[in-house]
């Protein structure tokens, strides 16, 4: 356990340089955005004098290095600046919206894992059978369609044609439900913590379609890597040993093959998670989901640097944490990784 914590700490420290790099690059990039934020902020009716006033107010009249130092100073105090479009501190915006995106991503991922891993195992135990081909076929088709198309299709079929799903109006239909008190920011968890089953049901009904649209895209890589890893471990020497000593089929499949196959699967999961988080943008628009993806797109379009910077920084931190989680999971799966660290 101590070794575990030491490695985790080491990895976190190792992330500091990349974090500094991200801060510098995002600052430069967002200042390279086309358009003048002062003009935008001052509004269409502003004259040159008021634009200059806004510029001075935003600190945009200072030199770039000076602006950068100010930015660092504010960052150190947890201040990501003011969003020009929402008029709120960027920090507040992100804290409000991130849980929505994370919740959607996690549910999508759980759906994808729940379908893809058993599918991959099933296909690996019967290579080149009809189930193997079926698995490959569905998974390829699911990955081939663009995410937004699937999202629209699902809304069309399950809301418009067959009204099974609720209206796609975001995380919760506020005509019928009140949002649960924020504890984790995840509606599904918060409503359960409050014991409010109705709100839980409402939130669940809202998240199913967007989560499936997102998750379908993640099916292919997870199912493929599970199948490949399972095929490899099933053909390995130690599974042959287990068979030669007559261990039960179940024991061989789970303890001797699946556990060993989990290492590549965990690594791919990390990658898939970041892909899915990225494609949130497309889904959030279709389902009116109040996540960070839609927020970032709006910020880029309106040259809202602070918001863009804040978003990129947050994603970088998420990425680093995600890699840490993947590392720790690999350590749990494979003792050899533990000892290398």
């Amino acid at each position: 356990m101590i070794r575990f914590l030491r490695i985790a700490g080491k990895r976190l420290l190792g992330a500091v340089p990349s974090l500094i790099g991200v801060i510098i690059v995002t600052f430069l990039l967002s200042h390279a955005l086309p358009g003048d934020p002062a003009v935008l902020f001052a509004g269409p009716a502003a004259d040159a004098a008021s634009v200059a006033q806004v510029r001075a107010h935003l600190g945009l009249d200072h030199s770039l290095p000076q602006q950068f130092l100010t930015y660092i100073w504010q960052l150190a105090h947890g201040d990501l600046g003011q969003s020009l479009t929402t008029g709120q501190p960027v920090m507040t915006d992100l804290v409000q919206r991130l849980p929505a995106s994370l919740e959607l991503t996690l549910v999508a991922l759980i759906f994808a894992i729940g379908v893809a891993v058993p599918l991959g195992i099933w296909a690996a135990t019967r290579p080149n059978s009809w189930i193997d081909h079926l698995c490959r076929g569905t998974v390829t088709v699911a990955a081939a369609f663009p995410t937004f198309f699937i999202a629209l299709l699902l809304v069309y079929v399950f809301y418009f044609l067959i009204p099974l799903a609720p209206e796609p109006v975001g995380r919760l239909n506020d005509v019928y439900f009140d949002a649960p008190t924020t504890i984790t920011g995840f509606y599904l968890i918060d409503s359960l913590l409050e014991g409010d089953w109705q709100t839980f049901g409402g939130a669940l009904a809202q998240i199913i379609l967007p989560a499936i649209s997102l998750g379908l895209f993640a099916l292919a890589p997870i199912a493929r890597i599970t199948r490949a890893a399972m095929l490899q471990t099933l053909a390995s020497d130690h599974v042959r040993t287990a068979r030669a000593l007559g261990l039960s089929r179940h024991r061989i499949l789970i303890t001797y093959a699946l556990r060993n196959a989990m290492l590549p699967v965990v690594n791919v999961l990390g990658m898939v998670f970041s892909f899915v988080l990225g494609s949130n943008v497309l889904i959030e628009d279709v389902y009116g989901w109040p996540g960070v993806g839609a927020y970032a797109v709006k910020a880029v379009i309106s040259s809202d640097y602070a918001a863009v910077q804040g978003f990129i920084l947050m994603m970088a931190v998420l990425y680093i944490l995600l890699n840490l989680v993947v590392d720790l999971l690999s350590m749990m799966v494979d003792p050899r990784v533990r000892f290398e660290g």
Partner: protein, 328 residues
């Protein structure tokens, strides 16, 4: 325990006229042809031959662990009263590990790399010995102690990568012998280990089976090793057993030209490397139609009938059998 195992008159293992082909993309490969042998309780039989002679396939056939591409048009394998070729997979799985067990070369990869070695021994006991988890742990530690792994209670929690190759092979032996099987098949158990460890491992195998009156099939390409540890030796060439007999008789007076060549190619410790003979030619392509004697192209004693007549089985007495028209 079935009755056949108890009576001394019935051999523990009988392979009778076994023919085995592999279906591959480039056609049928005739891997084994007319294999017959018997093995009594407490006996150590060596199966010797160069790579590709079919030794390992024969071992897997004895275990009932053949690849689905294998086809057996003729012959049978009986072990402890069971027909290993027709038995259901379910009952085979119960037999394996309990009555017949196998150890392999490169012990480090043969063990599950991410499972504690003690737990792997325990898995075998939990499956076959009908004991509680706690009891299985105790017996697993005892099994590790029996193969003289120092400090077995601590080593129980070790992973294979923390142990040397020799120790890993001892763990394998502990796993295989945990339920006191009647037959241990050892497939090149010392390949990849250094020479002193080889002797330790082989002594350990011999000691383990002698104490429980179990039998061993030792598969090796090392005739010297087989000569030292086996009661009888079967020499395989291209899917045939060309000669089988008592170790001493065969090594002092080999009858098949291939056996004689093998002995000539085995370093004895006295000769220099220049005195070692190599065997000219290589194994025939087993995908083709083969002559009755598959050694014919490499043999300087061949007769006209070798290419046309079916292989004879010449019994020289004392269960020494050679399959050659013109034995030495």
């Amino acid at each position: 325990m079935s009755a056949a195992v108890m009576t001394e008159s019935v051999p523990l293992l009988t392979v009778e006229d076994l023919v085995l082909d592999f279906r591959t993309r480039s056609g049928m490969v005739h891997v084994l042809d007319g294999i017959s042998l018997t093995l009594d309780r407490g006996e150590i039989l060596g199966i010797v031959g160069e790579s590709g002679s079919g030794k390992s396939v024969l071992a897997y056939a004895m275990m009932g662990l053949l690849d689905p591409a294998a086809q057996i048009p003729r012959g049978g394998i009986r072990f402890a009263g069971r027909d290993m070729l027709t038995e259901s997979e379910r009952s085979l799985a119960e037999t394996r590990g309990r009555e017949i067990a196998m150890i392999f070369q490169s012990p480090r990869t043969a063990l599950n790399p991410i499972r504690r070695v003690g737990a792997q021994v325990q898995d075998v006991l939990l499956r076959h010995a009908n004991v509680s988890k706690k009891e299985a742990r105790k017996r697993a530690i005892a099994a590790l102690a029996r193969v003289r792994i120092p400090d077995p209670e601590r080593r129980f929690d070790a992973y294979p990568f923390e142990l040397s190759g020799g120790l890993c092979q001892r763990v394998m032996i502990a796993m295989a012998m945990a339920c006191n099987p009647y037959l241990l098949i050892a497939d090149e158990p010392t390949t990849g280990l250094d020479v002193t460890t080889q002797a330790v491992v082989m002594d350990l195998i011999r000691e383990q089976v002698r104490s429980s009156n179990a039998s061993v099939v030792l598969i090796t390409h090392d005739l010297a090793l087989a000569g030292e540890y086996c009661d009888r030796i079967a020499v395989m060439h291209a899917g045939h057993i060309v000669e089988i007999g008592g170790t001493e008789a065969m090594l002092s007076a080999p009858k098949h030209p291939y056996t004689a060549r093998l002995i000539g190619a085995t370093p004895g410790g006295h000769e220099s490397i220049r005195d070692l003979a190599s065997i000219p030619g290589s194994l025939p392509d087993l995908r083709r139609d083969l002559p009755p004697c598959r050694f014919i192209d490499r043999c300087e004693r061949r007769l006209d009938c070798c290419a046309t007549d079916a292989l004879p089985s010449v019994n020289l007495g004392a269960d020494h059998i050679v399959r050659c028209w013109n034995p030495l």
